[in-house]
């Protein structure tokens, strides 16, 4: 698997769902947005982005529709489904719980 710079394992699905929550995006834009919003700390490799997007489609958490981009090209735009929103809440809560626990552990150390 290609390495993702700075991306904690298992969080990619959550991050994609999160950036899609503010509006539909195509694949390249998703990677860009994650990069920007993380103040260029996180970088998503295409090698994991597309399998992850396929998985989201399979799970029914996002929908993909073809549309015209700003530059006039045909692109596939992903948007979150209600099931995806629920999954995002779930994963965020779970992630917070885990990081808090890890913080606690590191802090006491």
């Amino acid at each position: 698997m290609p390495r993702d710079t700075g991306l904690p394992p298992g969080t990619l699905v959550m991050l994609i769902l999160r950036v899609l929550q503010s509006g539909p995006l195509h694949g390249y834009a998703i990677a860009q947005r994650i990069h920007q919003l993380s103040r260029e700390e996180l970088q998503v490799e295409e090698g994991s982005l597309y399998p992850a997007l396929q998985k989201l489609l399979l799970k029914g958490w996002v929908r993909g529709d073809w549309a015209q981009s700003d530059t006039g090209r045909r692109v596939r735009v992903y948007r979150v489904t209600p099931a995806g929103r629920k999954q995002l809440d779930l994963e965020v809560a779970e992630f917070r719980r885990t990081t808090r626990a890890i913080e606690l552990l590191i802090g006491t150390g």
């Binding site: 390249y28 490799e45 295409e46 597309y50 399998p51 489609l57 981009s69 045909r74 692109v75």
Partner: protein, 468 residues
């Protein structure tokens, strides 16, 4: 996996060409937007990774292997044909034997509702007899409330005046015989209690379809014709269709009403022979009566018989029931017969194993000859498991064709066997049923283990890369 997910997976399978094309297009667009498109990586690899998400990968691989294996087998026809011939023979021997066992012992007797048709045999602490005295059966029929009806049969033979040199096998049966077993006449009518068991009934005879065809010249006006049997006239009332199982693998040519036995065999005293176990006793159980309840239900009648004829019937004897569904074999007898059958089955299985051992050699040498091919596949990135799977699939195809051939050969040779021996009636139906298919699957499994897996394993253990 949720239902929705399964549905999306299936929909993916249905329109995967379009979906994969879209994915490729999407990736191309993505790469076009990048400042440094070279960083995108190998598109084919990325597409494969994305495709794997949908979970059809292993199936794809199996399908590829199957097609590849078929091509490979077509390329070496002599190997394929020899293997299939060996397997057909090996499996065929097993299927022949299994067919005979299946038709004679495993399948229920092919009559209406075999589960409630029960045969009773006379058993005591020191004796057992397959028959019951005719007058005793009549007595039991009048003195129980577990039987819906009672059927009787007595096998014998008669002299026909057209062919006095040979004796013709007949079955004396109760008039309800054909109705209760669920068979109609091929021509004319079957016996009927109303007509053939009333006092002064005209002596009637039914002829088997085969007898009608071969001896009576397929006479279409046979119904109403008079046959002289034991020098007494009897009127043909009907033709019994081929395929009528006269219970217990028998094949009489004529049927006569058991009520008329004194007419055809005067002076035999058959109907009053309290001492002779001369009659087979069958009964249709009332709905809901179990075998145990039936055995219990005839006990009062047996006790009454023991009081009436203390010298002939004992208080400690019983009637042992067995249904047509279990082929009238009592559990103990069945075990005994099955042990013998298993012994012979083991022998035929040995034949298959020997055949497979030979075949394993053939497969191995064939595989060794293709080591180069396997090495190239490994060098191109095939995993060892993939190469091994290919050999196993090739063997699976051979085994499947061999099994189909084996089933056909088993069917043909079982029929041939049945036509040679006089022990088996001609109406037996050897058409493969689910038991036969199951046995064939088992034979294939054994064969595959014996000739496919071992060579595959031996080949895959070699250092394929170095073989180039």
């Amino acid at each position: 996996m949720t239902i929705g997910e399964l549905w999306r997976r299936l929909r993916y399978l249905a329109s995967r060409r379009r979906i994969e094309r879209e994915l490729a297009e999407e990736m191309a667009v993505h790469r076009g937007m990048m400042t440094d498109p070279r960083r995108f990586g190998n598109m084919l690899k990325l597409r494969e990774d994305a495709r794997d998400v949908w979970g059809w990968g292993p199936l794809d691989g199996a399908w590829q292997d199957l097609r590849h294996a078929l091509r490979a087998l077509r390329k070496s026809p002599s190997f394929s044909i020899t293997s299939i011939a060996i397997l057909t023979l090996g499996i065929g021997v097993n299927m022949t034997f299994f067919n005979l066992i299946n038709v004679t012992m495993l399948q229920p007797v092919p009559i209406a509702d075999p589960a409630t048709l029960v045969r009773f045999e006379r058993h005591g602490p020191t004796f057992s007899s397959s028959g019951v005295p005719f007058p005793a059966i009549r007595f039991i029929r009048e003195h129980n409330d577990v039987f819906a009806s009672v059927l009787t049969r007595h096998g014998s033979d008669v002299v026909w005046d057209q062919d006095p040199a040979s004796r013709i096998s007949v079955a004396y049966v109760s008039a309800n015989w054909f109705d209760e077993l669920g068979f109609d006449a091929a021509l004319g009518r079957t016996f009927s209690e109303r007509i053939d068991e009333r006092p002064g009934a005209e002596p009637a005879v039914m002829v088997s379809e085969r007898f009608w065809r071969t001896t009576l010249g397929s006479d279409p006006t046979v119904v109403g014709r008079t046959l002289r049997l034991n020098d007494r006239p009897a009127i043909v009332v009907g033709v019994v269709p081929d395929g009528f199982p006269d219970l217990d693998l028998r094949d009489p040519q004529l049927w006569l009403p058991i009520a008329e036995i004194d007419y055809f065999e005067p002076g035999s005293g058959f109907k009053e022979a309290w001492h002779s176990n001369n009659t087979e006793m069958y009964a249709r159980l009332r709905p809901g009566v179990t075998l145990a309840a039936a055995a219990e239900g005839v006990r009062p009648a047996l006790s009454a018989l023991a009081r009436l004829h203390p010298s002939l019937y004992k208080d400690d004897e019983w009637l042992e029931p067995a249904t047509a569904e279990e082929r009238f074999l009592h559990r103990r007898d069945r075990r005994k017969v099955m042990r013998i059958a298993a012994l012979f089955g083991g022998l035929t299985l040995l034949v298959l194993l020997v055949a497979c051992a030979n075949l394993a050699n053939l497969v191995l040498s064939h595989a060794i000859g293709r080591l180069r091919e396997f090495s190239v596949r490994c060098a191109l990135g095939a995993s060892r498991w993939r190469v091994l799977r290919h050999i196993v699939i090739e063997c699976g195809i051979l085994a499947a064709i061999g099994a189909a051939g084996g089933i056909a050969a088993g069917y043909a040779s079982a029929r041939l066997f049945a036509s040679f021996t006089t022990e088996l009636p001609p109406y037996l139906d050897f058409a493969p049923d689910r038991r036969v298919l199951g046995a064939a699957m088992a034979a294939v499994f054994v064969a595959m283990l014996a000739f496919g897996v071992v060579p595959a394993w031996m080949v895959s253990r070699r250092d394929l890369i170095r073989a180039i």
